[in-house]
Symmetry: C2
């Protein structure tokens, strides 16, 4: 298996992507195509004494930064490491793509340069949230600010496939994020999506209020990209807010006690760290595309590459394609009957 | 000052509203009109040995429950304690109203039976969220699922008045909840609201991402009622999720250590407890209306009554009315120039 990695994306590029790639070759037995500046990459490899076995460098000179507008990837920055990597993916030079760079550019690039799965209306950017007893995928967390009910139905299906194939959850429960649990709740979007989900063959839990999101009652959380973005970022913001509050609680309790508590807190923070689960997955693209967090270190890049490998192993794209065909057949039968 | 209290609203009615009322008379020097079942109220008062000085009972027999639909308050349940209290408020029999009952019914009742401030398009249900260094008011948290930009501008103004007059914050900063900090971000609603806020005389901070909400950078958080509901409920849900996680971290560490930590955790939980700040305020109604949490105990009801008193003392309704007039004048001058 060959994973294409954007060596120039993220705050710690190219050191972090390179470190993740070296570790992935050694521990996962994959091959890596690193898109980026050959000189910079080789300098770090020499400095760190990395073996470059299993790693091929695809030399690129341009870089999409966080300040570029998303559409630059198909215009001014069409030769950037991210653009070249996505084109290589489309040409079959790799099985999946990983980048910790500009999310908007990755979304535009994946859609325009790699292309969607046929029949998918819009791809979704889907992070994995920690819950009381596991994880939940959030569909969509920002790719599509305005959504139609049919898009949300596809998000629910793609999220279910991911949780089953990659996270190993049998019959994942799908919850529609809403301002109440009753069927009549929400805007027109939620009311119409409710009807679609109820009639689908997914494991529909019903509406889920935001209060219940961390409970783990649903493993697939469906919402539009605006609301999903608020959920994701509040998860992040409140996580560090609470960690700081708890830390402040225990100041001035003596050195040994503090050490003990700080260790406990670190374990807690780690359990909340979505970087350990990998990055966000861009679902709906014809190949697995993983978006690592901008602040990814070598370890986080390694986990993102492992996540890409699990997507390939689990045939996520193939299963979504089959599910789409089944869904189409089903709705044709329904309209005929 | 006379505060009208719905004695039959909330999970612990009428005991909790009565306890709150008795304490409010004693500690705040207000008079209370309790709407509810006289027999039940008097039985508890006797049992608890409460002095009923300063408390007048307005006998009602019907009760709006959590299962009633909001519009029942003007139909089948027009003689309920909540409806009768809101009508009494309109008739000037009290200066403010407090209820821990059905939120939807309270919203409909306050709008239909008590009436809005003239010129306010829609009232907003506004809870107070704890932040790193204080509190922020969330406008709107569920009253208006779909909003227009002009409504959000009014929410911003009303929230600013509340934070200044009731919470004592000078020049509170107004943040528009959005999926990015740049001016161009969001849906049409956010883009148009941004322009209105930028041209207003409020202290506009700009867009605020949900990640930044707990930071305390803004004291007035503006959004539509659907998104606000998600923010409020995720705050609640993640709060208890983190508290449980932290508690679990410290199990099996011996009795004295556990006691020490549980005490610390209680302090933490209390600092996160919005019930201590009172309830959510329904802004835009011609009198102060406070919605206590459904699970309010006597203490929470007391704090909600105190909050109602502070609204009256701070002339919140009068200030909103003046600000509306100034806003109108300002926009007339702008369109003329």
């Amino acid at each position: 298996m060959r994973i294409i990695v954007d060596a120039m994306g993220g705050d710690h590029a190219p050191a972090a992507p390179l470190e993740g790639a070296v570790r992935a070759v050694r521990e996962l037995g994959v091959q890596i195509v690193l898109c980026g500046d050959e000189k910079q990459i080789n300098a770090i490899a020499r400095e760190q004494g990395y073996s470059m076995d299993g790693i091929e460098i695809m030399h690129t000179e341009e870089v999409i930064t966080m300040h570029d507008t998303p559409t630059d990837i198909v215009k001014a920055k069409e030769n950037s490491s991210m653009a070249m990597g996505l084109k290589a993916l489309r040409e079959g030079k790799g099985d999946a793509f990983v980048s910790a760079g500009n999310s908007g550019a990755l979304l535009v690039g994946a859609t325009m340069l790699t292309r969607r799965i046929k029949g998918i209306q819009r791809p979704a950017m889907a992070p994995i949230l920690p819950t009381a007893d596991g994880h939940a995928i959030l569909m969509d967390a920002g790719a599509n600010v305005e959504c139609r009910p049919e898009m949300l139905l596809q998000f629910a299906m793609m999220g279910s496939v991911y949780m089953e194939k990659v996270m190993g959850i049998k019959e994942p429960k799908v919850g529609l994020i809403n301002n109440g649990s009753e069927e009549c709740k929400g805007r027109a979007l939620e009311q119409q999506t409710y009807a679609l989900l109820k009639n689908s063959d997914l494991h529909f839990y019903g509406n889920i209020e935001a209060r219940e999101v961390p409970s783990g009652n649903c493993q697939v959380l469906v919402t539009d990209g605006f609301t999903g973005n608020v959920v994701l970022k509040l998860y992040e913001g409140l996580g560090s807010f609470f960690a700081k509050k708890v830390k402040a609680m225990f100041t001035g309790i003596g050195k040994i006690g503090a050490l003990f508590i700080m260790n406990k807190l670190r374990t807690f923070r780690d359990s909340m760290d979505y970087k350990k689960v990998g990055g966000a997955v861009l679902l709906g693209i014809a190949y697995p595309v993983i978006k690592g967090h901008g602040s990814s270190d070598g370890g986080a890049m390694f986990h993102a590459i492992r996540q890409a490998k699990t997507c390939v192993d689990g045939k996520v794209v193939e299963t979504i394609t089959e599910a789409l065909a089944a869904q189409k057949l089903r709705s044709r039968q329904q309209s005929e009957s």
